[in-house]
């Protein structure tokens, strides 16, 4: 079976892919779909969902539907950007540690263990609070607490691949270490990296929403977590203000996780479901 056939063979993966594509489309098309921006006040506060206001209005009279569509942009942006940063750092350090071993390896393992032990979310919280809440500090915070996971996986892969024959052969051919790492070992180490990255996107979206919920989101942007946090006072009278953004987060993370599971199965056919 081809990769694509294996990937789409599970209904859950297909579902995840379709939903994710829809969310990306809505996020990209948000300015075309709505006349107002997410911050614009369009009418009375706390109006229930109905004609004209698809998802109702929030505590200060903003259109929830517009907020939800624009919120997708933030979630996806933070999810993808922080994962890219974490994978970049993790691959680089993990590769060096796994390939060379020795002192570098010991040091890196101590660092990753450190990040596993300390309360990671608390660290992200402290960091974002100290850097002042903004989109970039959120990405920095999430990157800081997630890169060690990637480094660990990459290091394990490199450790098992570095003494394989094709690597020895490349060395005999006189390739430089950098070239061996990036053109010989890394391509062979990719499958688990792809799988862990896809899982990290979902977790990053959850962390972003949690930070925003605590008031540590970018004050100029309306993310799903911010929407939930700012509607807490209205939860008792206007369920849609908190229920809908939460459903958006859950559906997005589920879709991403389904894609991750699908990638996992497609890339490791031996392990099966």
């Amino acid at each position: 079976m081809s990769f694509a056939a294996r990937f789409f063979s599970r209904p859950a993966t297909l579902f995840g892919f379709v939903v994710f594509a829809a969310i990306v489309t809505i996020a990209l098309a948000a300015p075309l779909l709505f006349a107002h921006g997410p911050m614009a006040i369009v009418g009375m506060p706390l109006r229930p969902p109905g004609p004209g206001l698809l998802a109702g209005s929030d505590v200060i009279g903003r259109d929830m539907a517009v907020g939800l569509a624009y919120g997708a942009r933030i979630s996806l942006l933070v999810g993808v950007a922080s994962t890219c940063c974490a994978v970049g750092i993790g691959v680089l350090l993990g590769a060096v540690a796994g390939y060379y071993g020795g002192l570098v390896d010991d040091l890196l393992m101590q660092i990753t263990e450190f990040f596993q032990i300390i309360p990671a979310f608390m660290l992200a919280m402290v960091l974002v609070a100290f850097l002042q809440p903004s989109l970039s500090s959120t990405v920095i915070g999430i990157t800081l607490i997630t890169w060690p996971q990637v480094a660990r996986v990459v290091r394990g892969q490199f450790l098992s691949l570095r003494s394989r024959e094709f690597v020895e052969a490349a060395r005999v051919l006189g390739m430089s270490d950098a070239r061996i790492i990036f053109t010989q070992v890394l391509p062979n180490a990719l499958p688990p990296i792809v799988v862990i990255s896809s899982m990290m996107v979902g977790n990053a979206i959850l962390t972003e929403s949690a930070l925003s919920f605590l008031g540590l989101g970018d004050p100029d942007l309306l993310s799903w977590g911010t929407m939930i946090g700012s509607s807490r006072v209205a939860m008792w009278v206007a369920w849609w203000t908190t229920v809908l953004p939460g459903v958006c987060i859950m559906v997005t993370v589920l879709a991403v996780n389904f894609i991750g599971d699908g990638l996992n199965d497609a890339l490791n056919p031996r392990r099966g479901c």
């Binding site: 450190f114 032990i117 309360p119 608390m122 402290v126 939460g246 859950m250 589920l254």
Partner: protein
């Protein structure tokens, strides 16, 4: 041998603590402006001499290494500084709230372990059955749900719509219950936040138990047990489940850090008066010493919890040796 292992773990715990303190110091100095500017901002008053006196008073005019040494010394003596906002010692504020957080976390972990192991064992009995896929689906859902939102939905359903349980706080305000009545009151209040916090771990334990039980069930000693004619129930309980629980203990330490993060959020949703709500208040008020104090104390606690589970594990399982 065991003593050396324990000693090594102790040294490691100490090292992690030192790094956390260094990190905190680094964070304090990464922020634009220093404590003096913050205090002057709060006083609403700042001329050159006033700032200079403030800096001299708090040692902020010293070179960084000197300040670092002083900071480490203070933390080592349990002095985490003074809250900007509440004008009290950070450590005493935290200690006042800490028992509430520990109560909530312990309740959540125990509930999750009990529920998760039961569900996982049930799912493993018949892999692929409807019950098995229900457990797997539930686990998938709980991994994707933001914990704080799940808590709000619990409030909406069980407190607002059904009116079964109290939505906020640790006890009924103004009721002043004592003795058993108070315990019953707190027990009622802990259910919603405790279950919210537990659900994520419940899903994790269920999956872990399920996988481990299916794996252990194929091992030789299980076949031997069956061949001896022991009842299936006994085989599952005494041979499969007991051995499948080992990975659960291994992961217990690693989960402490996730638990702390989760309880920050859940405490806030339910206004549970623990260090999680305190952290939120510190963020809102820009009370940096308090926020860092909470970070340091919770890191130390997580480290200690790891240390205890590691040692307990090494004592229980003779196969754990000095390898790490």
């Amino acid at each position: 041998m065991k003593l050396r292992y324990i000693g090594l773990r102790l040294v490691k715990t100490l090292l992690v603590t030192v790094v956390v303190v260094l990190l905190s110091f680094f964070l304090i100095h990464a922020v634009p402006g220093d404590a003096a500017t913050v205090m002057a901002g709060q006083a609403g008053y700042a001329d050159e001499t006033y700032m200079k006196n403030l800096r001299a008073e708090y040692g902020l005019d010293q070179p960084l290494p000197v300040q670092l040494w002083a900071y480490v010394g203070r933390v080592a003596h349990g002095d985490l500084g003074t809250s900007f906002v509440r004008r009290e010692k950070v450590l005493s504020i935290i200690m006042e709230r800490l028992p509430n957080t520990l109560l909530l976390d312990a309740f959540a972990l125990l509930a999750a372990a009990a529920g998760g192991i039961t569900l996982g064992a049930m799912a493993a009995r018949r892999p692929g059955s409807a019950g098995d896929s229900a457990v797997t689906t539930l686990a998938m859902l709980f991994y994707a749900v933001p914990q704080f939102w799940l808590g709000m939905m619990m409030v909406l359903v069980f407190a607002v719509w059904l009116n079964w349980l109290p939505p906020f706080g640790i006890e009924t305000m103004g009721a002043d219950y004592t003795g058993l009545a108070r315990i019953a009151d707190v027990a009622q209040h802990i259910i919603l936040p405790g279950v919210t916090l537990a659900l994520y771990f419940l899903a994790f334990y269920a999956r872990l138990t399920r996988t481990a039980m299916i794996e252990v069930a194929t091992l030789d000693f299980v076949k031997t047990a069956r061949a001896k004619g022991i009842s299936e129930r006994q085989v599952q309980r005494r041979h499969v489940l007991r051995n499948a629980l080992i990975p659960l203990v291994t992961y217990a330490g690693l989960q402490a850090s996730i638990l702390v993060g989760g309880s920050v959020l859940v405490e806030n949703v339910f206004s549970w008066p623990g260090i999680g709500t305190l952290a939120y208040q510190a963020v809102q008020a820009r009370d940096n010493p308090l926020l860092l104090g909470i970070f340091i104390v919770s890191s130390v606690l997580v480290c200690l919890f790891n240390l205890v589970t590691d040692i307990a594990y090494s004592l229980v399982d003779p196969r754990v040796e000095l390898s790490s």
